[in-house]
C-alpha cells in the first residue's frame, strides 16, 4: 500500500482508503476518490506536479500533496 502521490506513472491502482478526515479529504471524496475505485496516473506535469489521474473514464488533475491523502494498492 502506498500514497497515490508517491506511485509511478501508468500503473493500475485501487483506492484502499482516504487517510484523513480533513476538509481537503472531503473534497477529494466528493470528486469520487473513494475506496474500491480504480485509478491510474495518466500524466505528470513537466515540473513534476500536479498529476493527472484517470478514474472511470475521466481525467482530473490534483497536486501530489492532495494525492497523498489517498491510499492505494497496485492491481495486477
Amino acid at each position: 500500500m502506498k500514497k497515490l502521490g508517491k506511485t509511478h506513472h501508468d500503473r493500475m491502482l485501487e483506492i484502499v482508503s482516504i487517510a484523513s478526515d480533513c476538509a481537503r479529504a472531503g473534497r477529494l471524496a466528493a470528486l469520487g476518490f473513494l475506496p474500491g475505485r480504480l485509478v491510474r496516473i495518466a500524466r505528470i506535469a513537466p515540473l513534476g506536479d500536479p498529476i493527472s489521474i484517470e478514474m472511470e473514464g475521466q481525467e482530473i488533475s490534483i497536486r501530489r500533496a492532495e494525492a497523498d491523502l489517498i491510499v492505494v494498492r497496485e492491481v495486477k
Binding site: 473534497r27 466528493a30 469520487g32 515540473l47 473514464g57 475521466q58 482530473i60
Partner: protein, 732 residues
C-alpha cells in the same frame, strides 16, 4: 411556493459543477439582460439575468460552479446560502441543475446533495453532443424516471434543447417535482440531531440540511456563522464521533453514501464504453508534453502578451488622440468660465479618455481568455504552470492574470475571474498590481537614461531596465507566501483541475464574454475612475487666488525686462501665441500647482519622503502620480518649468534633472538626483499602486476594504523600500 402567486418574479437558480457549460446556458437563456454585482461582504460575483417564460417574469441566478455544497469559507458558502434563501432573497422556486453528460455520475453528486433541500428541479443534460462523440449512450428517459424530475438533453453552446428545457421548467413550476432525498442511515440522522439540538441553545436558526453540512464538512463555514467557537466545535466533534463509531470516515461518509445511491440509480442508464476520446489523448500528449507542451505554452503566451503590449497601442493612442481633440474642441466654448472649462476639459474629458483607453487591452485579453478557455487550452496551461505558483498560494491559473499585469494590471485583475478557488483568486488579484505594467516603463526609461546610462554605459542600463521588470514579482511572490501563511488564514482548498474536451469556440460566446467584460469595466469601474479623475483635478486646481497669477506675471515681466526692452515684452505678451506668452502661461500653471492642495500637501509630507532622498519637487511628482503613474514624467516637466512639450521628448527633462541641485538645507548645492535617489525612486514606482483605475477595479472585483488595504500596504511597502535603498545606498 405555488406558481399561482409568487411575490415578484419567479426565481430560478442554475446549479452545476465547473466546466459544464452552465454560464453558456445562462447566456443563452438571458441573452444580454444580465446584472453582475458582488454578494455583500464576500468576493464572489453575483450574476443574475431576466427572462420571460410562459408570460411570467423570471429572475435567473447563475450560482458559482461547485463540485459540492461543502464550504469552508464564506465565499464557498454562497451556493448553499443562495439555495437556502439566506442572501436577502427567498430560496429559489426551482433549480435547473446543469449536468455534464460526459460525466454524469460525478455531476449528479452535487445534484444529490442539493436534493436534500427539497426544491423542485429540472436537469439539463448538457454537452450531449460530446457524450455521443465519446461513445456514451445515455437513456435520458430512464434517468428522468429514476430521479423523478425532467431530464432534458441540451447543447447550450449551439442553443439546442433550450425550448424543451424552458417547457420543462414551465411544467415543473406548475407541477413541482423533486428528487427524493437520500435515505440516510440512522447514525447520520443521529449526528444531525446532535448538531441541531446542540445548537438550539445559541438561539440560531439552523435548518436540517445546514446541520447536515456541519456534520459532513470539517472546518465548516456554516459553523463560523454561529460564533461560540469552542462550544460549537465540541458539538460538531461529538456528531462526527458518532460517525466514527460506526467505522466511517466523517470526511468521506457523505460521498460514500451518495455515490452508492448513484451507482444503483444509474444502473442501466449509461451504456457504451465512455473512453476518453482518442483525439483528445493525442492532443494532450502533444500539448502537455514536457518539451513541446512547454514550447507551445510560451508561444501562446507570447502572442497574448504581444497583443496587449503592442497590438493594443494604436487603438489606445487613437482613443487618447480623440480625447485630446475633444478637449481642444470643447475648451473654446467654455472659455468664459475658466473653472468649468478646466473641469470639463482636464477633469471630465481627460477622465473619460482615461477610462476608455483601457478598453482595447481588456477586450483583447478577454478575446484570448474566451478562446483559450473555450478550446480547453487554459486548463492545460494551468496544469503546465501550477508548480511555479503553488508554493505561494497561487495556482496554475494565476499565470494569465499575472502575465497580463505586465501590460496593464486592470485586465489582469479582471482575468483573475478564471480562478475558481476564492483564496487563489484573491491572492492573484493582490499580486497583479506588482507586475511591472507598461505605464512604469516611461519612468524607468527616463531615470535610467538620465543617470544610469551616462554613468555606467548602455549595457548596464539595459540590464537595469530588464531587472526593474522583475522587482515587483520578486517582492510579490514571497509576500504572497507570507500572507497565505500568516495573515490570510483562509483554509486551503485542494487545487482541482479538470481537463475539458477540446472544443471549437463559438463566435457568439466569445463576443458575449468580451462585451460583458468591456461593459462591466466601463459601467462599474469607469464611474469610480471618473470620480477619481475629477477629485484629482480639484486637488490640483484649488485654491486658485488671482494674486498668484498676478505675482507670477509681475515677476516674469520684471525678469524678462532686464534682458529685453519693456515695450517688446509687453508687445509679445499681447499675442497669446508668442513664445513669451506660452512661457508665462506655463509659469503661472506651475505657480498654481505649487499653491494647490496637492502642491501644499507635497511640501507638507516632503519630510516623510526626505528619508528616501526626495526633494519637494519629486514628492509632488510622486503624489501627483498616484491616480496614474504615467503622469509622473509630464508632471516633472511642468514642475521643472520646461518650455518644450515633454511629451515629445525627454532629452530636455533629462538634462534638467541631471543639473537639479538642492537649494537649501543640509545638502545645499549637491545634486538632487544621485544614484541612490534614482534607485529609491524607481523602487517606489515598482512597488506602489499608483493607479486609481486599478484601485477601482480591485474594489469592484473584491470590495473597497481590500482595495484600500492593498493601496495602503503597497504605498507603505514602496516607501519602506525607497527609504531602505536610499539609506543603504547613500552610505556605501
Amino acid at each position: 411556493m405555488s406558481f399561482a402567486d409568487p411575490p415578484g418574479p419567479v426565481r430560478i437558480a442554475l446549479l452545476g459543477n465547473p466546466n459544464t457549460g452552465k454560464s453558456t446556458l445562462f447566456n443563452r437563456l438571458t441573452g444580454l439582460r444580465q446584472h453582475i454585482a458582488n454578494y455583500p461582504g464576500i468576493t464572489v460575483e453575483k450574476k443574475t439575468g431576466a427572462m420571460v417564460l410562459a408570460g411570467r417574469q423570471v429572475e435567473l441566478i447563475d450560482l458559482p460552479g461547485a463540485y459540492s455544497l461543502a464550504a469552508t469559507s464564506p465565499d464557498e458558502r454562497v451556493v448553499m446560502d443562495a439555495l437556502c434563501g439566506r442572501l436577502g432573497h427567498r430560496a429559489p422556486d426551482l433549480i435547473v441543475c446543469v449536468v455534464d453528460a460526459t460525466n454524469i455520475k460525478r455531476n449528479l453528486f452535487l445534484v444529490s446533495e442539493a436534493a436534500e433541500l427539497a426544491i423542485p428541479m429540472v436537469i439539463a443534460l448538457n454537452q450531449w453532443d460530446a457524450a455521443k462523440r465519446n461513445g456514451l449512450r445515455i437513456n435520458a428517459g430512464l434517468l428522468a424516471d429514476r430521479l423523478g424530475v425532467p431530464v432534458i438533453p441540451t447543447i447550450a453552446k449551439r442553443g439546442r434543447g433550450l425550448e424543451e428545457l424552458k417547457k420543462a421548467i414551465g411544467h415543473t413550476l406548475a407541477d413541482p417535482r423533486r428528487i427524493p432525498r437520500i435515505l440516510w442511515p440512522d447514525f447520520i440522522d443521529d449526528a444531525r440531531d446532535i448538531v441541531r439540538n446542540g445548537l438550539a441553545q445559541f438561539d440560531v436558526d439552523v435548518t436540517g440540511p445546514e446541520a447536515l453540512r456541519m456534520v459532513f464538512d470539517a472546518d465548516s463555514a456554516f459553523a463560523d456563522k454561529i460564533g461560540h467557537k469552542d462550544r460549537v466545535r465540541e458539538i460538531l466533534q461529538s456528531a462526527r464521533d458518532t460517525i466514527r463509531s460506526h467505522g466511517m470516515n466523517p470526511a468521506s461518509v457523505e460521498a460514500v453514501l451518495h455515490y452508492r445511491h448513484l451507482d444503483a440509480l444509474l444502473e442501466g442508464v449509461i451504456g457504451g464504453d465512455g473512453m476518453v476520446a482518442r483525439t483528445r489523448n493525442s492532443m494532450d500528449a502533444l500539448l502537455l508534453n514536457r518539451f513541446w507542451g512547454t514550447l507551445i505554452f510560451f508561444g501562446v503566451m507570447y502572442v497574448v502578451f504581444q497583443s496587449l503590449y503592442a497590438w493594443a497601442s494604436p487603438l489606445m493612442r487613437l482613443i487618447l488622440a480623440a480625447s485630446t481633440w475633444l478637449q481642444a474642441a470643447v475648451s473654446p466654448m467654455l472659455a468664459g468660465t475658466p473653472m468649468i472649462q478646466s473641469l470639463v476639459s482636464d477633469g471630465i474629458i481627460a477622465g473619460v479618455g482615461g477610462i476608455l483607453v483601457f478598453l482595447p487591452q481588456i477586450l483583447l485579453l478577454f478575446l484570448f481568455i474566451a478562446v483559450l478557455e473555450d478550446t480547453g487550452y487554459l486548463a492545460r496551461a494551468a496544469f503546465l504552470m501550477d508548480k511555479l505558483f503553488g508554493w505561494c498560494g497561487l495556482n496554475g491559473k494565476s499565470f494569465v492574470p499575472l502575465l497580463s499585469g505586465y501590460a496593464c494590471a486592470i485586465p489582469g485583475v479582471m482575468a483573475a475571474r478564471t480562478l475558481e478557488d476564492p483564496k487563489a483568486r484573491l491572492t492573484t488579484i493582490l499580486m497583479t498590481p506588482f507586475m511591472s505594467c507598461s505605464a512604469r516603463l516611461p519612468v524607468y526609461v527616463l531615470l535610467i537614461g538620465a543617470f544610469v546610462e551616462p554613468a555606467h554605459g548602455p549595457i548596464v542600463a539595459g540590464w537595469t531596465l530588464f531587472f526593474m521588470h522583475f522587482v515587483g514579482a520578486a517582492v510579490a511572490m514571497p509576500l504572497a507566501w507570507f500572507m497565505n501563511r500568516c495573515v490570510l488564514r483562509i483554509r486551503t482548498q485542494p487545487f482541482i483541475l479538470e481537463m475539458p474536451e477540446y472544443r471549437v469556440p463559438t463566435l457568439r460566446n466569445v463576443t458575449i464574454r468580451m462585451w460583458e467584460r468591456g461593459r462591466e469595466f466601463v459601467v462599474r469601474a469607469g464611474t469610480v475612475i471618473l470620480a477619481f479623475s475629477v477629485i484629482l483635478w480639484a486637488l490640483l486646481y484649488f485654491p486658485r487666488p488671482e494674486s498668484v497669477a498676478e505675482k507670477t506675471r509681475a515677476a516674469f515681466i520684471a525678469a524678462q525686462s532686464a534682458a529685453l526692452p519693456a515695450a517688446d515684452v509687453a508687445r509679445a505678451l499681447e499675442d497669446p501665441a508668442s513664445g513669451l506668452s506660452v512661457k508665462l502661461a506655463r509659469r503661472i500653471d506651475n505657480a498654481y500647482i505649487e499653491q494647490s492642495c496637492l502642491g501644499q500637501f507635497g511640501r507638507a509630507v516632503q519630510p516623510v519622503f526626505d528619508l528616501a532622498g526626495f526633494d519637494w519637487k519629486i514628492t509632488v511628482g510622486v503624489l501627483a502620480s498616484f491616480p496614474a503613474r504615467e503622469i509622473f514624467v509630464s508632471t516633472l516637466g511642468v514642475i521643472y518649468n520646461l518650455d518644450a512639450d515633454v511629451g515629445k521628448g525627454t532629452d530636455d527633462l533629462r538634462a534638467v534633472l541631471a543639473n537639479e541641485k538642492w537649494h537649501d538645507g543640509p545638502r545645499a548645492g549637491q545634486p538632487v538626483y544621485t544614484l541612490p535617489v534614482v534607485f529609491a525612486l524607481m523602487a517606489f514606482f515598482a512597488l506602489c499602486m499608483q493607479c486609481g483605475a486599478t484601485v477601482a477595479v480591485i474594489a469592484k472585483e473584491l470590495n473597497w476594504a481590500w482595495a484600500a488595504g492593498a493601496f495602503a500596504a503597497m504605498t507603505a511597502l514602496a516607501w519602506a523600500a525607497a527609504v531602505l535603498i536610499y539609506q543603504i545606498g547613500s552610505r556605501l
